[in-house]
Every structure is written in structure tokens, then in C-alpha cells.
């Protein structure tokens, strides 16, 4: 079968409406009922074993990589052991229709709803969320949705601890058998006088049970493939099924020996990790690096062609798309954001361990080619390293333009510095990979998990309103005094810091509670086997068994705070054009009738234009937040770190935020994407935007900082311009840039720019000798540009 044909066939198969699959919830609940008296880690292992031995196995037409996480073709599994109420709220009521993620899920039948209720209600009082809500102080819930919203591992979101990357290569290279041998070794070496030895023994036994179950799971696929092969009339497909059966019989149990086997082994191990404890952004890690030895050997031995490898990778990408993870939306008041995708990132590029070159570039290249064949929701990150070949850089950039910017680029230099700042060794630091939206982690070495989204701008609102929210009039902050009495800029800055220091501990307290609870009642014995140290020390990864563990707090809107502080500093304290009273009065009135105040504030320097005045204040805010994080350590010795990233929390947390002194109106989103300049304020050109962002000390924000930049595809039509774009990107990374994503402007965006020009003031139209912005063009010319900018929908 032609690769293109096979890929399209499968694309067609998965173009169905996603369905919610109750199988995991059913089997898990059944198992938990049977194991009431067992320690939690054992409950986890036995329930996983039940899922893997009783869950549906299915092989679809034309597939070469097999394994489905649910009983449906496009299925979303349920995670009632973390949170169960939201399924009832969002799938059995009319709210199902309103789910704001943009995705649609096939409505449940009445019969399914019935079953739904009986399974889910068993979890009352038993889920992580139930226990969390019982423990968490009320004042946390009061501030939720104002100063922060849940994200990452928060049990309210109904997901397991995540945003980490297991060391899949441990299983691929050693086989599950190899890992079981390690468990046995550890069991026999247990010091019986160690007060923890019983706990360790139970953990190791639970790990063994789950490892064995993963072998059984693959064997069931081998059985199914054999069965299908026997019934298959097409000789070609029969051969494929026989081969699938052979491979599933072999991996992940035994070490993979070919590229195909390694990919299948990886997929099984990943599925098992996810079935054990679904969480968003459990990444695949550096696939090009750890699969290269298999690829190289196959090519040398003539077993594999580049085209075949490309096809297998494309099929792997398609597999990623089959897995969904419905997120609670309406019941938690969040803005949605990532939809149902797993955000399991394929991390490409960067140094090969032990080298300062990417020795796997040949395979990195094939991974990029394969993306051209798929272009769906699979998430790809790409490390920009100093020794990258120009050809590969160009290919990555061309692909980013083709897929409208989906690829996340990350600068090696700063990410490695972050790892070093987090206490990692140079060798380890160079192995970093990106997963999910932005998180930097060391696959299989460091267990880095995400926690809640913070609103940096809310702290400013509280500082400017004596601890009271401007819109709701709710007192949630500290009493930092009437801002009219602030005599200097430092008074304001101190008030800001006081508000942050007042509320941050409340968030830390809650995160500590749920991090501890996850360790107590929702450990991951299977995933633990994929990290250094866990088997050796008899300790679950969720309980800090890996060499490093961190908690990453996400903070959005830092640029909005910087712009606001800069505006007050300039207008009130430096130029004395306004008084504090005028500013506060205008904020209260949402600038209604206050056009003079608004104009003066808007005219102050803004982040994103290479102006130190604003840029350095933004950095003050970022570094202050990093200082605060440094003060805290969570359960199991997890260090707190900061990410200058907010994903889409700027929309929901912006909605409840009053007007801000940067000129933003009440309820509007604050600055997007973490460390990007406020929408449309970076009007000086691409390099100025970049120079502003690299003044930020990203090396301290260990979790990762995201910058989004708009690009007009018209300016990227010719080869020479694409090359300039590539050099722009590379220079950004060399100057200390972190994650950058390019929004390749689409027609929809241009139409939006016609309606909301204020958000697109940065959008340049450049033809020779001409200088102007898209929003300043005559409507007829704008329309003409839109009609020209035809980008095919994916």
C-alpha cells in the first residue's frame, strides 16, 4: 500500500466525532471495589492490570502501529479517581452542548448516562478532588478564579500529575523484562531493617504487577493480529498483520531491535503510562535522539528505507491524534484553551547526549517530513541549537510556516542555563526536552509537574485598590494602603510585592496539599519504572523517587504588569502629567470620559519595542516572582519554579480584572502567551520585539517562558526571505530567547484585524521602500491582501 494512501485512509477513519469512553472508569471502579483493603499503590497496580487485561483491544484497517487507549476509534477516557463530578455536570446535562473547548463529543445515550451515574457516584469521598476539597482552606476557593485558576495537576481539573516525560528508552532498550529484573534485584536487596522497607516492598511489588500487565496487554494485541491475519484474504495485509503479531509478541517485553519495533514498543509503553494516570502534556521526549540508533542500524542493514521510516512516523503521529482527554470547562469556570488534546509533545532537535552536535539530524529530518504528511493536532517542539545545520533549520522553519506556526521553537542556550540554575549537571541539562505548552524537563530524570495559573495583573489591581478587586469589590488582598498616598514609584512597587507575598502562600498551601495527596492515593508505579532512581530506591515518582522533582507555577500577564507599572511611573512620578488620583479615578470609570488620562497612559513606553524603560520593569516583575518561588519547597522535596507562561488564562482571568494603567479596558484579556508583548503594542518591528524579550532573565524562569509573534505569510514567500526568518529565529535563541511560536497570519486573523485594529497594530505590511501597518491601509487594499493570502485549511 502506498504510504500516502495508507495515511489518508487512517485520516479518514479518525475523522469521526470523538466519543467519551466509559470503559476505563468502569474497570477501574470495579477493581477499586475489589481491592478496598489494599494500599493505594497496590490498588493502582491492580486496576491498571485489570484495564490492560480486560479493556478492549482493536486493530484497524491499514494500521501498522497498533494500540488504542479506549474502546472507541476516537475516544476520551475518564479519570474518576481524580475527579468525577464534572463528567456528570458536563455530559449528562445541557451543559454538554455548551462545552466551550470547541470540540464536539458524541452525546451519550440514555443508557450510557444511567451507567455513568452508578459508576461515578461510587467515587464520592474517595477521589483525589474530594479529599483535596475536604482539606483545602476555604479562602483558597474564594480566591480561585480571581488571582489564579486551576491548571496542571490541580485535582479540580480531573487529571493526574503531568507535564513530565518518562524515560521510555529504559523500556525500549531493556524491554519490560529488563525492568522487571531490576525490580527483582531491588526487592532482594531491600534492607529489612530500613523503616521504609515495607513501603518500598509494596511499591516494588506494585511496579512488578503493572510491568507484567503491560506485557500481557501487548500479547493480547499479538493474539488479535494473529486472529485477523488468519481471517485476512488480502495477502499483503495478511503479511502486515503477521508482522504486527510478531512485533507485539516481542515488544515491549523484550528489547526492540528495529526502528519499527522501537516505535511500537514506545507506543505501548506510552499507552500504559496514560492508562495508569492520564494527564495533559505527558510528552514523548526526544524521539529523534533515542530512536536514531535503531534507524541507523536498520538503514545500514538495508532493512529500512527513509520513506518507510517516514511512513511509520506519520502513522505514529496519527496515533497521537486518536487519543483524547476531555477537560472540564464549564463546571470549573475556565476558559477552555487546549481542548481535548493530550498535548503529548514530540521533542525534536538538540544535542545528542555526550555531544554538542545533533548526531541524529538525519532522523530529525525524517520526523519533519512526516509532519508534512499529517498536519493534525500532534504537538511538536524543536530545539534551536548552535550547531544546527542550515538545511535542517530551513526545513523546520518552512514546516512551521506550512503548519501556520504550530511548531514550538525553543532556544537551547537559555533552556540549558535554566536546567543548570535548577541544580542539574551539564550532561543532564543538555538532555532537556519540551513538553506540553512550554514546560522544560529532563525525560526520565526529572519529574517536573505543572500547577496552577497565576494572574500577575490581579496583584497589581490589589496594590492599586488596597487589597480589593476593582470589579467585584471583593477584599482578597492585603491592605497596602490608599494608593493616593504613594509618594514614589517604589511605594507602588512595594505594594505590588506585598500583595503577591500575601496571596502566594495560600496557593502554595493548596498545591502542597494536592501534591501530597497524589503521592498518597494516586501514585504511578508503572510510570515510576521509567525514571532513574525509582526502582533503585523503591520510591514512586509521584512521591519524589526521581533524581529531581519540581513544581512549576505558571504566571501569565507579567508584561501587562510591566506596562502598567511603567505607565504609572512615567505619567505620575517621572513626568508628573497625572496624579495617582486621576489614574485611579479613570480605572474606576474604565476610562469612560477619561480620554486624556487614557492617552497619557497609553503613550508611556510599552514592552516589545526595545525600550529599556518598560522592558526592565517587566524583568523586575519576572525576577521578583522567581525570587518568591525560590522560597518554597513542596512535598517530597519538590522545588517550586516559575514559568512565564499563561496559555489562555489571560482571557478568563482578564475577564474579571478591572481596567489597568497600561490602558487595557476592564474585562479584556491581558497580555497573551506568557511573555509576549501585549497584543499589538510591539509596533517597532520584529527585531525590536525580540530585543525586548531577550532582556528578560528567562534563565531564572525555569519552567519556560513563551513568546508569540505574528508573521505575515506574504513576507515569507521567497526562499531568501524564509532564510532571513530562519536567521531571525536562530539569533533570538542565541541571544537568550526561550520558547517562541510564530502566528502565521491567516485570513481570519486579517479579518479580525479589520474589526479590531487595536489588537493588530504590530502587523506590518512591507513592500520595498514602503512603510505602513496593515491596519492603516485603505479597506480596499486590506481586502485585496486578504483575497491574496490564501492559505489552505488543514
Amino acid at each position: 500500500m502506498e504510504p500516502k494512501f495508507r495515511i489518508n485512509l487512517i485520516k479518514e477513519q479518525i475523522r469521526t466525532l470523538p466519543e467519551l469512553c466509559t470503559e476505563r472508569a468502569e474497570l477501574l471502579t470495579e477493581s477499586y471495589k475489589e481491592t478496598e483493603g489494599d494500599p493505594y499503590v497496590m490498588k493502582r497496580a491492580k486496576s491498571l492490570a485489570k484495564l490492560l487485561t480486560k479493556g478492549t483491544v482493536q486493530i484497524h484497517d491499514a494500521e501498522l502501529i497498533v494500540g488504542n487507549a479506549s474502546s472507541k476509534r476516537m475516544g476520551g477516557s475518564m479519570i474518576p479517581e481524580v475527579e468525577w463530578r464534572w463528567y456528570l455536570q458536563e455530559f449528562t446535562t445541557d451543559a454538554a452542548k455548551d462545552r466551550a473547548t470547541g470540540e464536539q463529543i458524541t452525546p451519550l445515550t440514555e443508557e450510557e448516562k444511567e451507567k455513568f451515574h452508578s459508576i461515578l457516584s461510587w467515587w464520592e469521598g474517595r477521589s483525589v478532588c474530594d479529599k483535596f476539597l475536604a482539606e483545602v482552606p476555604e479562602d483558597y476557593m474564594e480566591v480561585r478564579g480571581l488571582a489564579w485558576e486551576q491548571g496542571g495537576a490541580n485535582p479540580i481539573d480531573g487529571k493526574h500529575m503531568s507535564h513530565c516525560i518518562p524515560g521510555y528508552e529504559r523500556a525500549i532498550e531493556n524491554g519490560i523484562d529488563g525492568l522487571i529484573a531490576k525490580v527483582d534485584e531491588s526487592l532482594s536487596a531491600l534492607d529489612r531493617t530500613d523503616p521504609e522497607s515495607t513501603k518500598k516492598k509494596i511499591f516494588l511489588k506494585a511496579t512488578r504487577i503493572s510491568l507484567e500487565a503491560s506485557i500481557a496487554y501487548a500479547n493480547r494485541y499479538a493474539d488479535l493480529a494473529t486472529e485477523l491475519a488468519n481471517a485476512e484474504s488480502d495477502p499483503n495485509r495478511k503479511d502486515e498483520l503477521v508482522e504486527i503479531a510478531r512485533i507485539c509478541r516481542k515488544v515491549p517485553q523484550r528489547p526492540a531491535e528495529t526502528f519499527y519495533e522501537a516505535l511500537q514498543s514506545l507506543w505501548f509503553v506510552y499507552l500504559t503510562v496514560m492508562l495508569e494516570g492520564y494527564g495533559p502534556g505527558i510528552g514523548f521526549g526526544r524521539m529523534d535522539q533515542y530512536l536514531y540508533p535503531y534507524y541507523k542500524k536498520d538503514i545500514e542493514d538495508g532493512r529500512l528505507t527513509r520513506a518507510k521510516a517516514r511512513e511509520l512516523i506519520a502513522l505514529f503521529y496519527l496515533k497521537i491524534n486518536e487519543m483524547l482527554m476531555p477537560q472540564p470547562v464549564t463546571s470549573t469556570g475556565k476558559s477552555g484553551g487546549q481542548g481535548s488534546i493530550t498535548l503529548s509533545t514530540v521533542a525534536l532537535g538538540g544535542f545528542t547526549p555526550g555531544s554538542t552536535q545533533n548526531l541524529a539530524e538525519e532522523l530529525t529530518d525524517v520526523f519533519l517530513d512526516a509532519e508534512e504528511d499529517v498536519m493534525l493536532c500532534e504537538d511538536i517542539s524543536f530545539r534551536i541549537y548552535n550547531t544546527i545545520s542550515d538545511a535542517l533549520l530551513m526545513k523546520a522553519v518552512r514546516l512551521a510556516i506550512l503548519v501556520k506556526g504550530k511548531i514550538k521553537f525553543v532556544g537551547d542556550d537559555v533552556a540549558i542555563l535554566q536546567m543548570l540554575n535548577a541544580g542539574k549537571t551539564v550532561d543532564d541539562a543538555r538532555k532537556f526536552a519540551l513538553t506540553a505548552c512550554f514546560l522544560h524537563t529532563l525525560p526520565g530524570i526529572s519529574h517536573d509537574v505543572g500547577a496552577d495559573f497565576w494572574s500577575a495583573p490581579m496583584m497589581l489591581e490589589l496594590a492599586l485598590n488596597n487589597g480589593v478587586t476593582r470589579l467585584g469589590g471583593k477584599k482578597i488582598g492585603a491592605e497596602t494602603g490608599d494608593p493616593r498616598n504613594f509618594k514614589t514609584y517604589e511605594d507602588l512597587w512595594e505594594a505590588y510585592k506585598t500583595q503577591m507575598r500575601y496571596l502566594l502562600p495560600r496557593s502554595i498551601e493548596a498545591i502542597n496539599i494536592y501534591m501530597r495527596l497524589f503521592g498518597e492515593i494516586a501514585p504511578s508505579p508503572f510510570q515510576s519504572a521509567l525514571y532513574d532512581g525509582c526502582i533503585e530506591n523503591g520510591k514512586d515518582v509521584v512521591e519524589g523517587g526521581a533524581p529531581y522533582s519540581t513544581i512549576n507555577l505558571w504566571c501569565g500577564g507579567i508584561p501587562s504588569v510591566g506596562d502598567s507599572l511603567a505607565a504609572v511611573k512615567k505619567a505620575v512620578f517621572d513626568d508628573k502629567r497625572l496624579t495617582m488620583d486621576q489614574v485611579l479615578n479613570a480605572l474606576d470609570k474604565d476610562f469612560e470620559g477619561e480620554d486624556e488620562v487614557l492617552f497619557v497612559l497609553k503613550s508611556a513606553p510599552k514592552y516589545g519595542n526595545d525600550d529599556d524603560y518598560a522592558d526592565l520593569i517587566v524583568n523586575d516583575v519576572l525576577e521578583f516572582l522567581c525570587d518568591e518561588m525560590d522560597k518554597y519547597t513542596g512535598p517530597h522535596g519538590r522545588k517550586y519554579t516559575l514559568a512565564g507562561s499563561g496559555v489562555t488564562s489571560n482571557v478568563s482571568l482578564g475577564r474579571i480584572l478591572g481596567a489597568t494603567p497600561d490602558g487595557r479596558k476592564a474585562g479584556e484579556p491581558y497580555s497573551e502567551g506568557g511573555m509576549s508583548p501585549f497584543q499589538g503594542r510591539n509596533v517597532s518591528g520584529a527585531t525590536s520585539t525580540i530585543m525586548s524579550t531577550v532582556k528578560q532573565n528567562f534563565a531564572r524562569a525555569i519552567g519556560g517562558s513563551v513568546v508569540n509573534m505574528k508573521f505575515n505569510p506574504e513576507s515569507l514567500e521567497e526562499e531568501e526571505k524564509i532564510w532571513k526568518f530562519a536567521l531571525l529565529l536562530k539569533t533570538y535563541c542565541q541571544l537568550g530567547g526561550d520558547i517562541i511560536q510564530f502566528n502565521i497570519i491567516s485570513n481570519e486573523m486579517l479579518r479580525d484585524a479589520q474589526e479590531h485594529p487595536e489588537n493588530y497594530r504590530d502587523l506590518l505590511v512591507r513592500v520595498a521602500t514602503y512603510s505602513a501597518y496593515f491596519v492603516g491601509l485603505p479597506k480596499t487594499v486590506q481586502d485585496e491582501i486578504i483575497s491574496r493570502t490564501v492559505i489552505e485549511g488543514v
Binding site: D595, E596, L598, F599, V600, D610, S684, G685, A686, T687, S688, T689, I690, M691, S715, E718, K721, K724, F725, L727, L728, K730, T731, Q734, L735, L764, V765, R766, V767, A768, T769, Y770, S771, A772, G776, L777, P778, T780, V781
Partner: protein, 304 residues
């Protein structure tokens, strides 16, 4: 210290020369091309910019005008001001009373050091891409002393300079600007003197003489040929220009800049009228024009 009048700076441009560039636009131009897309670059003084759509009719500017050039007009529920440009002296005092951004100015003064500091910040990008600074306008050589000093400052710092010029240099100082730059983006707007005079307000004798002179002294050049059908571009003109360039040794490339109306909105902002009407080119037409150059062995591209 002499100052230069600059009306725009763009950081990180992918056009206007080689590599990634920062382009500074200087005010003042000896030509008045009918199709001019940067009309704010024509006059050599800071000018009042007025965007009627942004005016909220507050009227605060009225009393600030010393010559009573501003009056209020109401159209039903809303009102806005109009400016009598015949009376307006571009003193710019009214801007201080405007809080909507409707009144603003085209052109700000910079010292060489100030402007250099601004372009210098993009140094890593110039280095990475073999880019540099482009000085456009307007016609930068109108501010000859400033432009020369600025180019020199860039060159001392090993930053590549490109001068975007119309080639019309009535003084030795303005001619020297061309000599000073590393690269010229040389506009050729037609070979017929009468048509050139009608289209741009000046004859092309000096321009063509300069063009040839620059080739003689070995100045690297990119020729820019604005395609305005019926004005600069006729069947005959394309062939003649291609022939001329084919005989030159230091023209590295020809950029064909097809007519566009991107600058149209800026005319009313200056109280000027945009009168140019020229049809859009089809892809086939552009390809045919391009071929006139490429078949003579000249490197040519559409756009800058």
C-alpha cells in the same frame, strides 16, 4: 551636532537590501512622483498628521491653533474637526490638545548618535544575516550632512549601509551621500526625459548621469524600477531600461516594484489628494516584464 528629520524606523525588515535590515526613513524629497507611497516623506519639515476617524470632536485643539486653521464640523450626533491646510503652518501646537491620537506629527529630529543608538540595537541580526541599515525616505541625500555622518558612523562600526535613492543630487554634498554608502538602492523611473518630468517633477538627466557614474566607480547597486502602467512602464520603456542595465557592471539585481495603493490613506492625513489611478498588474504581465530582464542575464525579482 546636526540633526536629521526621520519619519519612521522599522526594525527587522526582510526587504530593502540584503539580509535582515533596519530601515530609517528620512523626510524631504526633491521629486514628486505621482504614485508616491510615502507622501509624508516629501516635505523637509515636521508635518501635521490628522486622522479624521480618530477625532472625537472634543474641540480642545481649536484654541491651540494660532492661525485658526481648525474648525469643527458636526455630522448629526458626532462631530470632528477639519484642518484648512492652506492656513496651517505645521506649527504642531494643536497636537498637545489631542488625546485620541487623531492629531500627531510626521517627522522627529534625531542626532546622528541618537539614531545610531537605535539602529545599533539590531546588530546581532545584521551580523547573523549579513544585513545592515537602509536609509530611505523621502530622499535621504536631501539631508546630506546628516546622512553622510550617519552612514559614516554605521560604517565605522562595521554596519553595512544601503542608501535608497532617487539619484537626484543637486548638490555635491548630496552626491557624496551616494559615494559614502556601501550599497545603493537606485530608483530608475523611466528613460524618457519628458515623461520623467511629467511623472516626477524633475528631468532625469542628472539621475541617469549619476547612475552611470556610480557604475563607473564600481558602486554596488540594486535597481528599483517602479512599474506604473502607462507612466513608467510601457512596452518600449521596459526594453530600454533592460538594455541600459544589461550594459552596466555593478547592478547586482533589479527589483520590480509593481504599483500599489498602500500609501493612499496617508494622503488625506496630510491634507493631500491621491490622484494616481493605474490598473493592477496580472501575474502574466509581471512575468513578461520580468523576462525582459532575465533574458538579458540580469538578476531580477518582483518586489524589494
Amino acid at each position: 551636532m546636526c540633526k536629521g528629520l526621520v519619519f519612521h524606523i522599522i526594525h527587522g525588515s526582510f526587504v530593502d537590501g540584503y539580509g535582515i535590515r533596519t530601515t530609517v526613513f528620512l523626510k524631504g524629497c526633491p521629486l514628486r512622483c505621482l504614485w508616491c507611497c510615502n507622501p509624508e516623506g516629501q516635505r523637509s519639515i515636521p508635518e501635521l498628521k490628522y486622522e479624521e476617524e480618530l477625532c472625537n470632536g472634543c474641540g480642545r485643539c481649536l484654541s491651540l491653533c494660532p492661525v485658526d486653521a481648525i474648525r469643527m464640523v458636526s455630522d448629526g450626533d458626532t462631530a470632528h474637526v477639519v484642518i484648512d491646510r492652506k492656513i496651517c503652518t505645521d506649527c504642531l501646537k494643536c497636537i498637545g490638545g489631542c488625546f485620541t491620537g487623531a492629531l500627531d506629527q510626521f517627522g522627529k529630529w534625531y542626532t546622528v548618535d541618537e539614531l545610531f543608538r537605535i539602529v545599533r540595537s539590531d546588530l546581532p541580526f545584521y551580523r547573523a544575516s549579513n544585513g545592515g541599515v537602509t536609509i530611505g525616505g523621502g530622499e535621504a541625500s536631501m539631508q546630506a550632512e546628516f546622512t553622510r555622518a550617519f552612514i559614516r558612523k554605521c560604517r565605522e562600526n562595521r554596519i553595512h549601509t544601503a542608501l535608497d535613492t532617487c539619484g537626484y543630487t543637486p548638490t555635491p554634498e548630496s552626491f557624496a551621500c551616494m559615494e559614502e554608502a556601501d550599497l545603493l538602492l537606485f530608483d530608475i523611473k523611466g528613460l524618457d526625459p519628458a515623461a520623467h518630468l511629467a511623472n516626477t517633477g524633475v528631468s532625469n538627466d542628472m539621475i541617469l548621469a549619476n547612475f552611470k557614474r556610480m557604475d563607473e566607480i564600481g558602486k554596488p547597486m540594486i535597481v528599483r524600477f517602479p512599474l506604473i502602467h502607462g507612466y513608467t512602464e510601457t512596452d518600449e520603456s521596459v526594453e530600454r531600461i533592460a538594455d541600459l542595465i544589461a550594459g552596466m557592471r555593478h547592478v547586482e539585481r533589479v527589483d520590480l516594484i509593481a504599483h500599489h495603493e498602500y500609501g493612499k490613506n496617508k494622503y488625506p492625513q496630510l491634507g493631500m489628494e491621491y490622484t494616481m489611478a493605474s490598473p493592477e498588474y496580472t501575474d502574466e504581465q509581471l512575468l513578461r516584464i520580468k523576462q525582459e530582464f532575465s533574458r538579458r542575464g540580469i538578476k531580477v525579482q518582483l518586489g524589494g
